[in-house]
Each structure stands twice: as C-alpha cells, then as structure tokens.
C-alpha cells in the first residue's frame, strides 16, 4: 500500500465515521453535536480533495462549507436555544427501519454498479506537463470565467434569490399595514396575529 492509499483510507474512513456520528447516538442526539461532527466530516473531505489534486476545491470546502454554511447551522441552533427536552429523539419505529433499509438498498445498488463499471480504470498521469495546472486556482478560475461564465452568472442570481428568500422568511416582524377599510358588516376580525414586535420603524417589508 502506498502512502497515498493509506492517506485516502484514513481520510475517507474519517469522513464516513464523522458523517455517521452525525446521525447516531451519542453525538447525534443533539443538533449542535451533529453540526460539529459534520464540520469534522467536511474537513476530512477537504483533505480528500487535496489528495485528489483538487486544490482550489479543498480550500473552498473549508472556507464555504466549514466556514460559512456550518457557522450558519450552529448559529441557528444556538439562536433557537433548543432545550434538553426537545433534544430527545423518539424511539425506533417501523417507518424508520423501512427508511433505513431503503437507504441501504440505494447504497447497495450504487455499490454494485460502481464495482462493475470501474474495474481496471486507469487514471491520467498528472506529472504530464499538460496537467501542470490541474485543479489549481488559475486553471479552475479561468474555466469558471470562460466556459462556465453563464452558469457562474446564474449562480449569482440563485444566491440573490436565496438571500431575498431568507430575509422574507426569517425577518422577525414585517409590519403589515392592513387595508384601511372597515370590515364588512357582521364580520369579526380574527385575533391579530401578524407582527409581535410591532415597533419596526419600517412600515413596509422591504429588505432592510
């Protein structure tokens, strides 16, 4: 076994263990521990990417996933301040067993297909001068801004949509100004339910 292989199995095993720990007790019992296991798993994956010569991706994995996405997750978990009572998962149910079997089945199918199709696959030689820049920032960046310019621009729209959507959904009080008409005769207003804050300076729910 070469050093490369040993590293691969170590990192891969780590990623699998950390992801599994996210779901299983004792770590998986509370969301915050799950999140931490997931961060660990992302670090292992970043190591795997580096091992597979995806240098830029490896850095992105740490910056974006471990640095931004998971911070968001932990932030929300802390914000919700889930108490111990809510952290109890209920017990094993037939539905869950069925779901687990389904996931296993999907994995089994994938594994068989992969074994059958990748036997004897030969990789390219990255020491070839043609691959000198493989996976480097300039190479990936060049491709991103030339061949993949359109998807790149589209992803910026996607991120904008996500930002707008998140603001719309999560804003605490979008003060709603009701239509200034009297209710029809015989109609009772439902209990006012909209904005608990009520003293939002912005009368209208723009993204401030």
């Amino acid at each position: 076994m070469t050093g490369e292989q040993i590293m691969f199995y170590l990192l891969g095993g780590g990623a699998v263990l950390a992801s599994a720990a996210m779901l299983l007790p004792p770590m998986g019992r509370s969301p915050i521990h799950s999140a931490i296991s997931l961060i660990v798993s992302f670090f292992f994956l970043a190591g795997l990417y580096a091992l597979l010569s995806a240098h830029m991706l490896s850095v992105l994995q740490i910056i974006v996933y471990a640095g931004a996405v998971m911070v968001l997750f932990t932030f929300v978990i802390m914000l919700l301040n889930l108490n111990a009572d809510e952290l109890q998962e209920s017990r094993i149910t037939p539905g869950r067993i069925a779901a687990g079997i389904l996931a296993l089945f999907v994995f089994g199918k994938l594994a068989t297909a992969i074994q059958l199709t990748t036997a004897g696959a030969q990789s390219v030689d990255l020491s070839d001068p043609g691959f000198a820049n493989f996976g480097s920032v300039p190479e990936v960046g060049r491709m991103m801004y030339t061949t993949f310019l359109v998807p790149f621009e589209l992803v910026s729209v996607l991120l904008l949509v996500a930002a707008v959507g998140a603001v719309v959904l999560a804003k605490r009080s979008m003060k709603y100004v009701d239509r200034p008409l009297p209710p029809p005769a015989g109609y009772e207003h439902p209990a006012p339910s909209d904005d608990e804050g009520g003293h939002d300076a912005h009368a209208h729910g723009g993204g401030h």
């Binding site: 059958l116 993949f148 310019l149 589209l154 949509v161 719309v168 993204g207």
Partner: protein, 541 residues
Amino acid sequence: MLHDLALITPQLILLIAALFTLVADPFLPIDASRKFWGLFGAGMSALAVVACAVLWKYGPFEMHTPAFSYHLSASGHALFFTALVSMCAMITHMSSPEYLVEQKSHYGEYYALLHFATFGMAVMVSAESLLTLFIGLEIMSMSIYVLVAFKRTSQASVEAGLKYFVMGSVASAFLLYGIAFLFGLSGGTSFIEIQRALLAPKPGQDLWLGLAVVLTGGAFLFKVAAVPLHMWTPDVYEGAPTPITGFMSSAVKASAFGSFLKFLYAGLSGPAMASLHLPLGQVLGLFAVLTMTVGNILALTQRSIKRMLAYSAVAHAGYLLLGTIATIDDPTLGAPFLAPTGAVPFYLVGYALASLAGFAALSSLGKNGEELTTEGHLAGLSKRHPIAALALTVSVLSLAGVPPTLGFFGKLQILRDVLAVENGKYLPHVIILVLNSVVSAYYYLKIPVAMYMRPDSKANRQYVREPSLTWAMALPALALLALGIMPGRAMSWASRSEQAIRAGTESANVAHSYAVVKGGGSAKPVAAVALEKPVAAAPVR
C-alpha cells in the same frame, strides 16, 4: 456577444423585472405598491412573451445554435416553453395582489420572487447543458419554496413550504448525483457532449447510463409529482397562496416537462441509449398509469377544492407522462424518431390555461385572511360572482376533457400519438387513460353542480371582485375556448417546438464527425451544420 445576448432577451426581461421590483419596492408607498406591482409584473411577463414571439418569428440566428459555450439556446423548444411560463406568470401576477391583500401578506418581494421563479424556469427550458438546467431549476425551486411559505402567519403555508423544501432538496441531490455520473461518462454536462460520449461507447457504459437515468429521472418525476413521489403535492398545493398554487400547477409543471423532454431527447439519445436495453418507454408507461389512477382515485374523496385540484394535477402528470412515451418510444430512442407531433407541449398549454383560470377563480373566494375553498363554499357562486363561476366551469371542463375546450384536443392528441407507437403497443395504457378520464369527470363536474344547482348560503358571501383578478380568470378561460375552437395554430406551434429539439439532436449527431472539442472556441462547425438541418426540417414559420 450582443448577438448572443439577443437570444436570451426574454430571460433578461424577466431578470430585469425581478431586480427592478426588488430595488424599487422600498421606495413605493404601500397603496401604490399594492396597485402597481401586479400590473408591472403582468406587463413585463407579457413583454417576455412578445420577445419570445419576435425571436420565434424573426430570429435571425441559427435557431438551434447553442450560445454561451453550450449553456443556453433559443431553440424553438426553449422559446415555446419560455413563452408558456411567462404567460403563466402574467396571469399569476394579475391574480395575486387582491388575494395577498385579503390574506394580509402583501409584500413587494412576492413579485420579485415570482419574476425570479419565471426566470429560473426560462433558463431551465432553454438550457443546453445539465449544469445550466440544474441551476435554473434551483432558482425556480428556491423562489417557489419561499412563495409557498409566503403567508408567514399561516401554519399551513409555512409548513407546506418546509415540506416542499426538504423533499425538493433531496430530489436536487439525486439529480446532482445523476449529473455527476453523466459527467463521469462524458467529461461535460452539455447535451452535445453527452451525446457525443454516447456515440463512442465505453466499457460498462450501460450500467452508468442506467444509473444516471434513474437518478435524474427520479428528480424530474418528483418535480412533476408522479406517483411514488407525489406525497408533497396535496399539502403544498393546499398550504400555498392560491395564485402560487395555480402557478405551480401550470408553470412549474410545464417547465419540468419541457426540460425533461429536452433532456430525454437531446441528452440521452443516440445508439448507446438504444442499445441500453433500458425499457424507458415501459417504465414511463408504468409510472404514467400509476400516477393517473392514484391521482384520480384520491381526488374523488377530497372536500377541499384546492386539495382536489392538487390530486387532479397528479393525475394530469400521469397523462403527460404517457404523452412523453409517444415522443421517445424506447427502441427508437436515438434511432429515427417518431414524427414529433408535439402532444406534450400542446397538452401543457391546455392544462396550464385551465389551472390558471381555475386557481384564479379560487383566489377570489375568501376575505380577511380566510380561504373559502371547500365544495360547500362554492354553493351558489353563479349568483354571487358569475364570472368566477363561469371561469371555473370552463376550467374544469377543460381539465375533464370535454369537447369545445382545449383540454379535449390535448387528450385526443396524446391518445392518437400513443396509439401510433408500434401499432398500439400501449393500447392498455390508452384504455386506462380513457377510464381515468371518465372517473375524473365525476369529481370535476361536482364543482359546476355546486355552483349552479345548489342554493346560495349566507356564510359564503366573502369574495373579492377586482378588475385585475377578474381578468386573470377570464383571459385563460377565453383562451381555452378560443383555442379549443381553433386548435390548429397552437398545435403547429407545439409540434414545431418538438421539431426544434429533434433538429438540434440530429445536427449534434452530424456534428460529431466534425470532431468538435469542448468549449466555445471551436463552436463554428456545429453552428454551420445546425443551420442547414433545422431549416430543412422546420415547417412554415
């Protein structure tokens, strides 16, 4: 570059509309915002339709040339579906303002998100690569998730949004995994690259391809609400704001089917696919039969009209899946195609118009944060709001496939095409479809019966009658009747849209011999070939 930008004018119009709404909304006084954004949105969507029409008629460009390094194109297929979803957006914009004000959820972001969703759909149906298709799909889905949950104080709405979101992101992950396998086969994600890779088979390719088709197909089946993956439909359709339900059942379904057709046609054709022995037609047929039967049976038992129409949407997904077979029957996949009659796009026009009219009419029922959309609430509607009653009646007649409406011709076209496949190989499926239509007539006709025959009740007197909302239900209903009387034009548009993919696919196969490599730099030979083929194949413009 400008040349290329002109090809995506409709998309650009939608994007500009979205950005303008987002930026300008905080500066508008509330009353003006309530009046203005619906009209503005409808106007911009209509402008996008016009842009599609201009490109369709005068497109000086090679109609099948992928622009932007094989990421987008303005093929007839893309234009047809972009126009269709923009038209759906137009009606939705018109039906939204009053509903939102009554439900106390009128915020400007709604219109921006609606534009974004339409933009995402337009990108999705014009995509020439799986990556662009996926990103378009995500833009659409993200906007729709938020729009479903837009009534933030309504538990049903927010939970529906969450449910749709969780299931949708799992579907996205499956789609991505499938795309990853197709990438592993071909080294690219554009349909042309995938096709080219399929022309030069690799060992073990069959299994890869099968896997990729199953994974991606599953995601598409989720989006169109086909049966094992339809569980989200009733809850989401019921919880969402009614205009959004109409938008989902028309535009989301249309764009999902549009890109699915394109993916099957343009991406997965070729000798390799034909030799795959994946009984794609039979698998789709099984799903189609299951979907229509389960959808119709469950629809029979519903009291809430929104829920009933949700199950009817599931059933219609089944009819459409059956229509898909007609265009991509398995042994001929890759080998000579059947004559593209455009059954699916044509059916989608009728279905989208009917859904829009129906849900616009339902949007007018209910006031002050209440929705009055059970069967009992419809009693005597013909006296209170005759236009809504009439629009809803036309809508359900079209959904049921009753002759003078467009829905009848859509179903007829699907039946005819499916029967034409290999001398009635799918005859049992067709019989099941007919039986299903008969069953569905029962629950559809309950609605007009309630509206016209049952006495009005005092409790039901809450409804909205505003000009824009009235037009929003009247226009699609009128279109259903007008196109039902003269279906020829719409039929020729639809068949041309399918011909466009076919021509693009053939030109890609020819282009193979030119040994075009990846990237935009050497796209010329393909363009040259693409120019000749489709012009020969194109019908009268």
